[in-house]
Symmetry: C2
Subunit: 498 residues, 2 copies
């Protein structure tokens, strides 16, 4: 099933843009100041393997590359250009790139329609006109493109991950793009593409959504928008896309003060809150309300198989944890069903006493129960038909006391690797997802070792395909988004997932 | 204004309990296993300066202390006892402590009414009976007391802070107590007392609330409860107390599944959600819904002066940040007013261009604006009468790129100390609070230095009295709790705060 008529988007050009064999970097200074020099440093640092051609009328060299005085002087072909010259010179540079045969360019320079001045608007119109003659443009006033596979990266993105994954991110805001790209790196949200399109003088939400809908490398589309250009076309593309892939949308500026702020940020028409929310619901887009929620929801869609997960177990060491889980789950319409009696009894037989409880929530009584026992508990609990998904809360920071007492590094006394292996076995055997919640209540200056261990632990679980959240409420909210999306999609398409 | 008749609580005994010159630790094993040995290690580690008398019928020595075979054999007076012997021997040990003249005891042992068994209930009744003969009891099935001033600490609490502060915490759950005590240490919530009272066979919520209401060392009372013993008395004490000090309550188990879990955790009667919520509102208690929210709200009450803060500025580097702030603020009924034109203009003159905006939210355009400029902006914005409080968002992690480029440690390139000084000057000069929001979107394994810098930065701001939150939504929610509490208290008492 294709989202839109193929002719809407020039796929071949976009493929060249995301996977350029060569890039002209226009506006590089030999002093290393400015965006163009910055992006060259970033491209080198992230390990971009193609050819870079820096350009500056003064010539010279930078980072060991000869600087070409004019775009026309570049000896080979260019697939893509990164333009960071003063606003008034951008259109000319873009036109030269077009003539040179570039498929597209990203324009990092600011000073266009976002200023709200006549001059800025006119300069942006010039860009649009050049683009219509045959070069696709990302920006201006943006941080550009990040594609882990090809090694192109955002403006301040020298250290982003080179591991590809199923999540695409479309954003008007450069800040959101770089922040989400950083968040994704450690949270385990792996990207196909991140596109910061800024003012969107040429390519914008609708066409890019169409492209990502058809992109086989993208399984989940996330989006930050402050306002769209052509509401009707966008919502049509959104409705079509959301039948095929989850689309997670953070619409900024739905409040009164927010829409005023939008006007001075991207000069978008913010739009009415009630209308936005009802249209997003109709399209079965997943609406989120903050960057952390956007990232957590993208993680859940990428890591939890298609399905609805309304009935869960929660396992943790400490009675209050389970109670908190019940309360939060009810607020989100998730059920924590009482387990069948014989299952509860077998679980209770495995647990330390007194203090444990196995009705669900499962209170394993303390934070130091061995992985092998937790594995048995999860296997047993999954036997109950009324369970769709299991949440395991681990307060790993409690191992710090043990570490100090034994004089052994906290990494060595915390059995997170064994537990990650155990959980992977459970998921394989039961075919029911397990989600890890790993709060860190111990963040004092003397517990940096706990944080180091936690980062290792997160990586170990992610490696096994297990999504990790810092707080229970975050996990529950993300799971709810996943369930609601697939349930509604099932109704809309008649195709039922698991 | 006193909360309750003085005779309700035996203050002198409670003072002795919280500040014991000597403690009997009953049930210490020479092998170092078990709760009693654990608490001795913790007391030693935290630096308790009084005398400890370990007790075990087998004698011997532990940690360099001679173990007494019987409580009666202890040579000196004891103010307090920590009892961790099997449930069936607890009452006898307690009676010996009473005869020995102890003012009180905490009973760490479990195996009482929380089991729901006849035997457990009977054993707990015995404790209550001994208590009535003249010794106050904390527990059983608890983690005990933490008092930074006197150096007594919770069961697994060897590394809690020794710095006292205005926040008291009352909790049925031991897990919540130790977790909040750890959270407080780095978040800057400083405690007068933390009381984990478990099953509450003797001292429980109502009497302890009365005590804390009258405690001059306590300015903010926080509480985790799963259910209360005598609803009428408790709510009466609560209403009286909340007229004098803010009381922040996290009631666990308000959902159906939650109340079932409560029954198997502390055997409390959970109570009805609608009733609880309406009574808490009537009492002007501050209801929160998670441990993180409890900690953030306690921090806000402890660090933000009495007052209502409904109109704020938000300053950050990046337009989308400000828009997110507007949207979140509107959800919480906080206004981000447009600043007076001449003030906006003077602020804009201070900021880098293009990309900045000064209408409020104030977009300073990038994350590297020098502290001196941010100070001028805050001073200027505070001149607007329509501003009660200012929020500053700092994405310090962006300094990592600069640190890597220069080959200088991130701690050295991030000007957080200068900024903390600048903010302290602003608060002093303007008498309007400033709150710092410091997200960390860069938590990959190679950025542990960023986290280390952030912990230092947090401490530097806290040192200057500036509360710090990880996420904007957390800060706004906590500020809302503060404003609502003081506004309502003003109505109830006729006393208006600022």
């Amino acid at each position: 099933m294709s989202c839109v008529a193929e002719d809407l988007v020039s796929y071949e050009n976009l493929e060249r843009i995301f996977n350029p064999r060569s890039i002209a970097v226009v506006g590089v200074s030999t002093k290393g100041t400015g965006f163009a020099s910055g992006i060259m440093v970033s491209l080198k640092a992230i390990g971009y393997e193609g050819t870079m051609y820096p350009v500056n009328p003064r010539g010279g060299s930078y980072l060991g590359f000869d600087i070409y005085r004019r775009i026309e002087d570049i000896p080979g072909e260019i697939d893509f250009a990164i333009i960071a010259v003063p606003a008034s010179s951008v259109a000319e540079a873009l036109e030269s790139c077009r003539k040179k045969g570039a498929a597209g360019a990203e324009i990092l320079s600011a000073g266009f329609s976002e200023l709200g001045t006549e001059e800025g608007i006119a300069l942006e119109r010039e860009i649009t006109e050049v683009a219509r003659r045959g070069i696709r443009v990302i920006g201006p006033n943006c941080f550009g493109l990040y594609c882990p596979k090809s090694g192109i990266t955002l403006l301040p993105g020298p250290d982003l991950s080179r591991k590809s994954g199923p999540v695409a991110f479309l954003s008007q805001s450069g800040g959101m793009s770089i922040d989400f790209a950083h968040l994704g790196k450690w949270m385990g949200v792996m990207f196909s593409k991140v596109i910061s399109f800024g003012n969107g003088a040429d390519l914008r939400e609708t066409e890019l959504l169409d492209y990502l809908c058809n992109d086989p490398e993208t399984g989940v589309i996330s989006m930050y928008t402050e306002g769209v250009n052509d509401g009707e076309a966008f919502f049509e593309a959104l409705a079509k896309t959301a039948l095929i892939k989850p689309v997670v949308i953070y619409k900024g500026g739905l409040s009164k003060a927010g829409s005023r702020a939008v006007a001075s940020h991207t000069a978008s028409m913010g739009g009415n809150k009630v209308i936005w929310e009802s249209v997003l619901r109709q399209c079965n887009a997943v609406q989120v309300r903050s960057l952390p929620e956007l990232a957590q929801t993208s993680l859940a869609f990428a890591r939890i198989p298609e399905g609805t997960y309304n009935r869960i177990t929660v396992m943790g060491g400490g009675g209050a944890l389970g109670i908190a889980a019940c309360d939060a789950a009810e607020r989100m319409n998730i059920t924590i069903p009482r387990l069948k009696e014989e299952i509860s009894e077998s679980i209770l037989a495995l647990l330390p006493k007194p203090g444990s409880s196995a009705l669900n929530p499962i209170d394993v009584a303390n934070p130091h129960v061995p992985p092998q026992v937790l594995k048995e508990v999860l296997l047993k609990a999954a036997e109950d038909d009324s369970v769709d998904l299991q949440i395991m809360i681990q307060l790993f920071y409690h191992y710090k006391v043990l570490s100090s007492a034994l004089g052994v590094p906290v990494k060595e006394v915390t059995p997170y690797r064994e537990l990650a292996d155990a959980v992977a076995d459970v998921v394989r055997a039961t075919r029911k997802p397990v989600v890890l919640v790993m709060p860190n209540n111990k963040q004092d200056a003397n517990s940096l070792d706990v944080e180091e261990m936690r980062r290792d632990a997160r990586a170990a679980f992610l490696e096994k395909g297990v999504p990790v959240f810092d707080e229970l409420d975050d996990a529950l909210r993300a799971i709810t988004h996943v369930s609601k999306y697939y349930a509604r999609r099932g109704v809309l398409t008649g195709i039922k997932s698991r």
